[in-house]
């Protein structure tokens, strides 16, 4: 029975994986030269890593040579002389100009810019377009994914919570999730924070673990989702860890930062700014680690998939396929590992913030 389930999962994975490659292939099968393909692949990867204003599943070039997009539009919400809301379908995938309330907007590389009626972008000295709309609260593909994942987590775990009312052992999906919840409690929270104080941090630790894990896993599906390789997302998560650490910290924690016990007074003055900087570096490293790992994973995986269309022979392409397949399996591990590391380090920081004073140091 177990072998059967494993086999099915593997089949499913291979199937999904081949779809993902199919998405790339459809777009590039029409291309001609090898150099052309290389730059196109590079362009495609960098595009994939960006956020988009519509929920695009994939795009292809039809027989007439036009780009066809499969997906659905999402609302664009911007604050530019008042709140402006319009459908992303009006932006026509960076190609159209949307006229809202007398102003013209167009998207370019995942950002909204204010332009003229023709949609011309003025480039500045660094080759960046001018007129970016900064107060952009659009429900982008990533924001939409965050909503969906949040809702999913809420439903799944509420269902799990309700299943405890029927008996001591959860039913359905909760039976599989309970060991993970227990693992986070027994092997992450309690050893790092301490058995007396871990309870108030559990909701955050559990949420952050499942949120990162599920959203990382979604990044491996062929839907082209990549939420955790946005620095804004990882910053938000790291900021919450930082704020919780700072606002729940006890006297002992601050004493260790500003007036390190057990060292000469002169050293204390030297240590204070270093320690203070350390409090910022800790969440900063959380932010960069998650962002960099997921981004690197996506870039490498897509590059190897892209190699298939550069080789265009059975040996190189099949080699590239197996390499990409192995890497996909590795990325599955990384998805869970990064969620674990983020949770683990957050617990470690909380632990240092609430640690009681010890006489022995």
């Amino acid at each position: 029975m177990r072998k059967n389930i494993l086999g099915r999962l593997l089949t499913l994975f291979v199937l999904l994986f081949s779809f993902q490659m199919g998405a790339v292939e459809v777009q590039y099968s029409e291309e001609k030269g090898a150099t052309d393909v290389k730059s196109e692949i590079k362009e495609y990867i960098s595009h994939h890593l960006l956020d988009s204003y519509d929920f695009g599943l994939y795009s292809y070039t039809n027989d007439e040579g036009n780009h066809e997009y499969v997906g659905f539009p999402l609302p664009v919400i911007i604050w530019d002389d008042g709140l402006k809301v319009f459908s992303s379908s009006r932006l026509k995938h960076d190609e159209g100009v949307a006229e809202v309330g007398g102003n013209f907007y167009r998207s370019y590389h995942g950002k909204i810019y204010k332009t003229d009626a023709a949609g011309t972008l003025k480039m500045d000295a660094d080759n960046h377009p001018e007129g970016r709309v900064h107060l952009d609260f659009s429900i982008t593909k990533n924001v939409f994914t965050i909503f969906v994942v949040s809702l999913l987590i809420l439903l799944v775990f509420n269902r799990m919570a309700r299943s405890y009312k029927k008996g001591a052992i959860p039913t359905g999906i909760g039976r599989g999730l309970e060991p993970i919840v227990q693992y986070i409690r027994d092997d992450i929270a309690i050893p790092n924070i301490g058995v007396k104080k871990y309870k108030k941090y559990m909701p955050y630790l559990l949420t952050v673990f499942f949120f990162i894990w599920i959203i990382n896993l979604l990044g491996l599906t062929p839907m082209g989702i990549n939420v955790t390789n946005n620095i804004a997302v990882t910053l938000a998560l790291a900021l919450i860890t930082f704020l919780i650490t700072t606002f729940t910290a006890n006297k002992n924690y601050w004493a260790h930062i500003f007036w390190m016990p057990g060292v000469p007074p002169l050293m204390r003055i030297v240590l204070a700014p270093i320690e203070l900087l350390g409090t910022l570096i800790k969440p900063f490293s959380l932010m960069i680690r998650l962002y960099a790992n997921i981004t690197a994973g996506h870039i490498v995986l897509m590059s190897i998939i892209g190699l298939m269309f550069i080789f265009k022979n059975w040996l190189g392409s099949s080699l590239s396929f197996f390499l990409a397949f192995a890497l996909s399996l590795l990325e599955l591990l990384v998805a869970a590992l990064q969620a674990y590391i983020f949770t683990m380090l957050s617990a470690l920081y909380f632990g240092s913030a609430v640690e009681e004073h010890h006489e022995d140091h």
């Binding site: 919400i77 429900i139 990533n142 919570a161 909701p203 946005n230 804004a232 998560l237």
Partner: protein, 166 residues
């Protein structure tokens, strides 16, 4: 770094922060608290049951040990009682023997004394009878002598002879 700052989307940051805080708050109320409480109470239940089982096992062992002790005590007591009974028996037999012996001795002595006194009485009676007989004989002799002098003398002589022979 410059690319990172350029890529930074404030909207995404805003929504992520908002959604995540909301998610933590909602999950805490509707999922984590009930889940963690249920797990904890279940674990406590299991721990309690295990403790109770351990306690029962210990009690059982204690009970068994005390039973064994009781049995041992009973066995010792029985042995002691039997030993005592044997001693009493031996003592009683010895006592009975002694008593019987002394009683027999006493009876023998008594019998001997009785025999002795009976003998004395018989001797005395015999003496009396002899005396009476002697008197009677003497009477008769006297009567015969009274009639014949020679005969009297003869009688006395024979009587005397008889008495001497006696």
């Amino acid at each position: 770094m410059e690319k990172l700052i350029n890529e930074f989307s404030f909207g995404l940051f805003f929504w992520q922060l908002l959604m995540f805080v909301l998610l933590v708050i909602l999950l805490r109320k509707f999922a984590w608290k009930p889940i963690l409480n249920a797990i904890e109470s279940r674990e406590e239940g299991i721990k309690g049951a295990l403790d109770a089982a351990e306690k029962a096992k210990l009690e059982m062992a204690n009970l068994q040990a005390s039973n064994e002790k009781l049995l041992q005590e009973a066995r010792l007591e029985r042995e002691a009682m039997m030993k005592e009974a044997r001693e009493i028996k031996a003592k009683m037999i010895a006592e009975a023997k002694d008593e019987a012996k002394s009683e027999a001795d006493k009876m023998i002595t008594n019998a001997q004394a009785a025999i002795q006194s009976e003998k004395k009485a018989a001797v005395a009676e015999l003496k009396n009878t002899v005396a009476e007989l002697s008197v009677e004989i003497a009477e008769k002799v006297v009567k015969g002598e009274l009639s014949d002098k020679t005969k009297q003398l003869q009688l006395v002589d024979s009587m005397l002879n008889d008495a001497k022979l006696n």
